[in-house]
Each structure stands twice: as C-alpha cells, then as structure tokens.
Symmetry: C2
Subunit: 255 residues, 2 copies
C-alpha cells in the first residue's frame, strides 16, 4: 500500500539527490509498534519525523539495523533510544523482579516503493508496554489512540484531542498487521498481562482483553479459562478499592 502525497519543491530536490540505482543492496530498518493501554484505550507510541520525506508526519519509532547487531537487538535498541524506554528493555527475562517489555518480530515490509528515497526493507516488531513506563517527550514523542474502521485492514490514529492524523510511509498498514496479530494471539495466550503491572486482578486482565478485541467477554468463562490455563498464579494478596477485594494474580514466567 503506497501513499501518494504532495511533495514540496524542497522535498523534490532532496529526493532527486538520491540515486537509488547506485545501490545493489537495500537498506534495512526496524520499525517498532509500541502498544500500551491508557484509560481503557489501546494506544501506540509515535514519533514526529524531523526529515524528509514525510517531514512532520508521525511515524513508528525505527532505525537502521547496524552491522553487528541482530534484528532483535536493533528492535530493543530502538525501543530504548527512540521511545524513551531507556533501562526498561531486555529481551531476556532474567530478572524476576523487573517487568520486562514484551517484544516480538511482526512482519517484514519490502515493497520497493514504500520509501520514496530508496529501497528500504523494514522488519517490523511490536512491543507491549505498561503505560507507567512510557513518558511522552514533549512534541516529539506521543501516544495516539487507535481505531480500526469496520473491516478495514488499516488503522486510524487520533491524538488526545481526537484529531486524526495520517501516518508516514506504510506505517498505518504495519499498525494494522500488529493489531491483527495481537488479537489473534489473545485467543490462545493471556498476553494482555504484558500491558498490566506485575500483579493484577482477573477483572483487569479481562478488561485488557476486551479493549483489544473490541467486544465484551463472558466473565465466568474468562475466569475459568484463565485459571484452567495454569499460566496465572495467585499471589495471596488482595487489591484494595470499592467492593470486595479481588485476588491479585501474577503470570507464571518460569513455566
């Protein structure tokens, strides 16, 4: 899916200074879809482009894959450096106390014209991050609400004032693939817990699944399925709040 945009003379000149045919090899980047949950809404972290093409458009955080790093490492680096998650990201889940970021390869996008400058192949990743770990850095990095029009494969994004934006490159398509992936994954994993604090109640987990899937779930069967899956363990602790306090659960990472 190629977006046709109007190009300014300045941008035209910039583009013409590239000579795509001079390179046999494509550039390879990683782009990371960072999903989080705020106020019952699924949101994605986007960065504002400071270069042509798509100057001032919002885009997925991304970067070139360096010579000596693996794709997973490149994605983790982007998460740390470009997305303001310094110190939080580790692919390995070594520490039992930390709540590491879930990061998984999504799909590789390689349409020859997806970047007007030159051939760029992008290996897309997606990450699930607890909202409290994200700090929006001023005008450059922000969270956007996601909406998927009925039946459409692409995704629409809105800022906190409900203003709609277009994304750079094929990034709306990448977001669409990410949403479809995570929705599919929910049917066989309680992956939603990656968006919650380390301890959470079953109701919270159900709410996460409901916002991602965009539909109500049956409370009892959700409880039963989750407990029967054996992937959650009770901590013995209780939440506090209105009404009877609920048991706090934790994901069994060791299994």
């Amino acid at each position: 899916m190629i977006h046709l945009i109007h190009r300014s003379p300045e941008e035209q000149q910039y583009l013409s200074s590239y000579d795509p045919s001079a390179f046999d090899r494509p550039s390879v980047t990683v782009d990371v879809v960072i999903l989080t949950l705020r106020e019952g809404q699924l949101e994605a972290l986007l960065v504002k482009r400071k270069e042509h093409p798509y100057l001032n458009y919002w885009s997925l955080p991304g970067g070139f894959v360096l010579t000596h790093e693996s794709l997973d490492e490149a994605a983790a680096r982007v998460l740390r450096q470009k997305a303001g998650l310094e110190g939080m990201v580790g692919m390995e889940r070594e520490s039992p106390h930390k709540h590491p970021v879930y990061l998984e390869q999504l799909y590789t996008f390689g349409d020859p014209r997806r970047d007007p400058r030159m051939r760029v192949i992008s290996v897309a990743y997606y990450a699930l991050v607890e909202a409290s770990h994200i700090r929006e850095a001023g005008e450059e990095i922000a969270l956007f609400k996601l909406r998927t029009p009925e039946g459409a494969s692409s995704v629409e994004i809105f800022d906190s004032k409900n203003k709609k934006y277009s994304l750079a490159f094929d990034h709306a398509e990448i977001l669409g693939v990410a949403l479809r992936r995570i929705r599919g994954k929910l049917s066989y994993t309680p992956i939603g817990f990656e968006l919650l604090p380390e301890r959470f109640t079953l109701r919270q987990l159900q709410a996460v699944h409901e916002t991602i899937l965009q539909k109500k779930l049956n409370k009892d069967s959700f409880r039963r399925k989750m407990l029967a899956s054996g992937m959650l363990e009770a901590t013995g602790e209780l939440e506090r709040g209105l009404g009877r306090p609920a048991e706090l659960y934790r994901f069994r990472r060791e299994v």
Copy 2:
C-alpha cells in the same frame, strides 16, 4: 543458532577475500521452505549448494532480493526458478482451473553471523505444494523427509535412503519455525488442502492434518468441524476405490 563447521583452507581463503566492513548495508535474501506430502510423509525441497560456504551442503532454495521487486515477488521467483516450479506459481489466485501455490512470509532471520561471508538478512517464506507439481532435478534438487525430535526446536532431514544430513547456515532452524507455523495454522484453518489436488475427500484432508500434526484426530469431529467451517464445498463427484466412495470436496476460494 550458529553452526560451527570445519573450514577447508580453500574456503578460508575464499572467506578472507570478503571484506564485511566495506558494506554498510546488509544483503537481503529470501529463502523458501517448500513443503509437500509424499506417501504420507511431510517433505521439504532442498537444493545442493555449489559454492562456499557450506559447499555441497543441502540448503533451502533462496536468492537475493532484486532492487525493483517486492519480497513476495522475490519469493515467487525463487519458487519458479530455483525449485523447478516454473509456470505453476502465482501469488494471485486468478485462475479457477489452476491450483496455485500457497506462499506466505514466515519470519526474518538476521543474526549477524548467520552467514560467515558477510551480513545477510534472510526473509523466509514457506510454500505448500502438491507433490505432483514437483520434479526433482537430478543431483541438485531433492525432497527430504522431515523429523522433529521431541521437544527440539530444530528439524532433522533424511534422504530417501534414510541418510541424515546437516543443513547449510541456519536453515534447520528456519525449517523448525516453518513447521511450528503450519502446525499452529492447522488449528484454525483447513490449510492442509494446499497439499492435495483440487478435489479431495475428507479422509485425505484428515490424513494430511494427521501427518503434519503427528497425531491421530477424531474422524467425526474432524468431519463436523470442516463442514461447519463453511470453507469446503461438495463437488457432487465421488472418488473411486475400495469401499463406499467418498464425496469429493473443493476449497471455497471465493469466500
């Protein structure tokens, strides 16, 4: 997963003629896992390498992504040119008479040392092909039986005389990912029909699922699920053979 192999002096010299640091950009290839079914066994099409490294090792058919072709196109080209499927492959399923080849992107492998010459990122695809479409071309292209040791992530390959081989590069790992993908996919699609002729009986389809999943399935519930899915349509024709002839079904591509 990097394979450490013994290198001959000839190969050593060959490798040292490469200067990896001279290139900022990685090379990008596509490798295609071509799966088929012969005599109730799942098999993969492999090609014998005629160059260093891994000279004379069997490997997945693959090739560099050309400047102006998409990844899907590159994979289809490899399928046509390198795998002896000339004239059979089309991503678009335009023709109702032809039985097109199922081709889907699998995963992208980018460990910096997966190719000892230089940085090569491989976008892996997998294809499901009806056995009758494949012609093994002498010593260069052959089908190998696959076996997955219990719990192992990798895959072992055997030729028709049950001799075991090691694969080039990380291709055994790629095969493992392909098998896991197709097994997972069977739980929510009747994808096995891609390995059968256009018309097939439910029993044949069940046999396909059973060989891929490596376990017996319940006949009645398999029938019910398949028919209830609405993805198969009866042709009205019957197979011929021993016992009561079974209805021949066809996959509903138009839905």
